[in-house]
Amino acid sequence: MDAVHGKPGTHLGEIENPDGVGEHGSIACGDAMRFTFRVKRHPTDPTQDIITEAKYLTFGCTSAIASSEALCGIIEQGEYTPINALKIQNSDIVDFLQGLPEQKIHCSVMGAEALEAAVFNWAQRRGVDLKSLGIDMHDQETEEGRIVCKCFSITEPYLKRKIRELNLRSIPQITNAIKAGGGCTSCHHVPGGLQDILDQVWAGETAAAENPSLVQITPREVKEDSDFSPYQFAKKVEKVIDEYVRPSLKADGGDLELVDIKGTIIYCQLKGACSNCMGASQTLKMMVERILKDQVDERIRVVEV
């Protein structure tokens, strides 16, 4: 994090007269990176150039700056030719940083994208025909693709490529990786929107259980290895409420009605003096849930009715 504090010894900056320069993102999107590198030129074969120095200028959060720093570090250590450098993936940056939070994955993707753009720029300057080497330049996609995510100007071909490359399986994963759909969210479920593109890309493959129930509210949730049947579980909950909860509520002129039990969710209603109390739901959540978790099952949740 030396770069953030302006300390020396980082790759912060811009190389004058670079051999390759690439940019990704824009200030409108919230982060942007300018990546430059210098090569040791091979006298006869430009494809044998070796990257010797890399620098970056980054507008963005700390994770974006760290990703940029990591990218430069990886490249300088590895003595890559520009063409080999194309193999560096965002996952290499994540590994180098020993992990990034889910919602910051897009920072590492930005690094990989800027690198790619810089290599394409180098190829142009050095007269290397990347296409003849079998490298896909994706040069058509941003210009000609239909814009799907208007907030971040992300096109359909780009989305499809990134969904495949990064193995993205859900809208939140797309948003975390390339930000698409992270703004107004209106592109999620419209025709031709993110869900449709996901379905198209992964058509034929068995879709991973989409939108799984966050809470399995079936009796199965009661521990299989537990000694309780649902009946015994309910009895136990009632007993604990009678012994530990009711006395203190009754002391305040209130009471608690057990409305229902579904799996490990306990539905309760405060009665009497407690039912008009502003802190009632806090009481339920804090006190009753804690006691039941301690005495019966750690997975118990209390819902006020």
Partner: protein, 408 residues
């Protein structure tokens, strides 16, 4: 005679008159500003900006939600179709819906259609007062539950359901459950704050013509991140969530009507409630064998659903109409389907009273004179019909002692 034939409009849960302020706000967009908001030229940009401003005002009136969460539709029925079918289309892994037995057909019939396509639907019952049972609701929630659709207030009885509580229970049980409410009868009448009051409601439908905007405009609130596919496919309007050229003058009208309703809400509410309570009190005093449906439950301040035992509603409406009084009934003869009100039957209102129900629904444009007129003519209308009724003993002015046997 002319005075008697002046229209006394007491059917505001069916539709309302357009407020003069609303009409005035709409006129420019029916005349000089007729441009398609999607077009490029400057005047079209004006209509586009007018829609944005209207959307913002509606979003503000619903608790300062994001204007992007407001979708304009053609009517509340379209909003309900979009909410229910759109949710089903976007979430294939769940196939269970919970609604109530007393919903408007715009919800019930959509649920029935999904039932025919393999979904299971739980129709929650109501008690005699018209209230739902929270225990029954909790029991119905399952790991397969996709959507809960509960109306905010009932159109026939005005009974208000505890939407805040039910949406919270549903979401705290399983945050993937989507909660929809048909608020057609409450927007503009009750305070609706989707940020602090109803934070667990994902979808909320309403229309313009119940709150003094014209017919032909509705809206759907879709909370950010709710999985819901469009119902009406077409152009890029409404961010691709509802195709079709924006109905500019009506959108402006809806926005004006809602701002007006919210500005005057408290004053209108106490004014209307006083009129309704007087009508209710004096009808009950003047006429024997009546019952007020939904009286024991929380109720909209503008609605009175009252049953007159042993007579038929259509006959009452017919006579009321001859005095220029407009109201409606849950009687089979007025429903077009030969079935009496499903709402009153779900409330176990006896058959002798279901057919004899009349709904009066008031608005800010009603006055004490309207109530006077109903009170003046109504007792005689009931007497006329009871004279005809085979179940009524006119000498004692009571049901015949064998009336209940005759009903069976």
């Amino acid at each position: 005679m002319t005075d008697l034939m002046k229209i006394t409009y007491l059917d505001n849960n069916a539709t309302t008159q357009v407020a003069p302020e609303v009409y005035e706000a709409m006129v420019p967009y029916l005349t000089e500003d007729y441009f398609n908001p999607s077009s490029m030229y400057d005047p079209a940009q004006r209509t586009h900006d007018a829609i944005s401003a209207a959307r913002k005002k509606i979003a503000d009136a619903l608790g300062r939600v994001d204007p992007k969460e407001i979708l304009f539709t053609g009517c509340a029925t379209e909003s309900n179709n979009t909410a229910i079918l759109g949710t089903a289309k976007a979430n294939h892994n769940r196939k269970h819906i919970i609604t109530t037995a007393v919903e408007h057909p715009a919800v019930i019939e959509v649920c029935r259609e999904l039932e025919r396509n393999g979904y299971s639907v739980t129709y929650l019952g109501v008690d005699r007062a018209g209230n739902l049972d929270m225990r029954e609701f909790i029991q119905a929630l399952s790991h397969n539950t996709l959507l809960v659709s509960i109306m905010h207030a009932n159109n026939e009885t005005g009974v208000i359901f505890p939407i805040e509580q039910m949406s919270r229970i549903a979401k705290q049980t399983d945050s993937a459950i989507i909660f929809h409410t048909d608020a057609t009868q409450t927007v503009g009448k009750l305070p609706i704050d989707l940020v602090s009051g109803f934070p667990y409601v994902d979808l909320l439908s309403f229309s313009g013509h119940k709150l003094h905007a014209p017919k032909g405009i509705g809206a759907l609130f879709i909370r950010r991140g709710t999985r819901c596919r469009p119902f009406m496919l077409g152009g890029h309007q409404e961010d691709g969530r509802r195709g079709g050229t924006e109905n500019v003058p009506y959108i402006i009208g809806l926005s004006r009507a809602l701002t007006l309703a919210m500005e005057r809400r408290e004053q209108d509410e106490s004014y209307i409630e006083k009129l309704r309570d007087r009508l209710e009190r004096e009808l009950v005093e003047k006429i024997p064998s009546v019952q007020v449906n939904g009286k024991e439950a929380p109720r909209l301040p503008n609605t009175l659903n009252i049953s007159f035992h042993y007579i038929e509603g259509e006959g009452m409406l017919f006579q009321l109409s001859s005095f220029g009084i407009c109201a409606s009934s849950g009687s089979a003869c007025t429903s077009g389907s030969l079935e009496p009100s499903h709402v009153l039957r779900a409330m176990k209102v006896p058959f002798t009273a279901v057919h004899g129900s009349v709904r009066f629904s008031l608005s800010r444009y009603n006055s004490d004179e309207d109530i006077d007129k109903v009170l003046e003519v109504f007792p005689q209308i009931v007497t006329n019909l009871r004279n005809l009724s085979p179940y009524w003993d006119n000498e004692k002015n009571l049901p015949r002692s064998d009336a209940l046997n005759l009903v069976k």
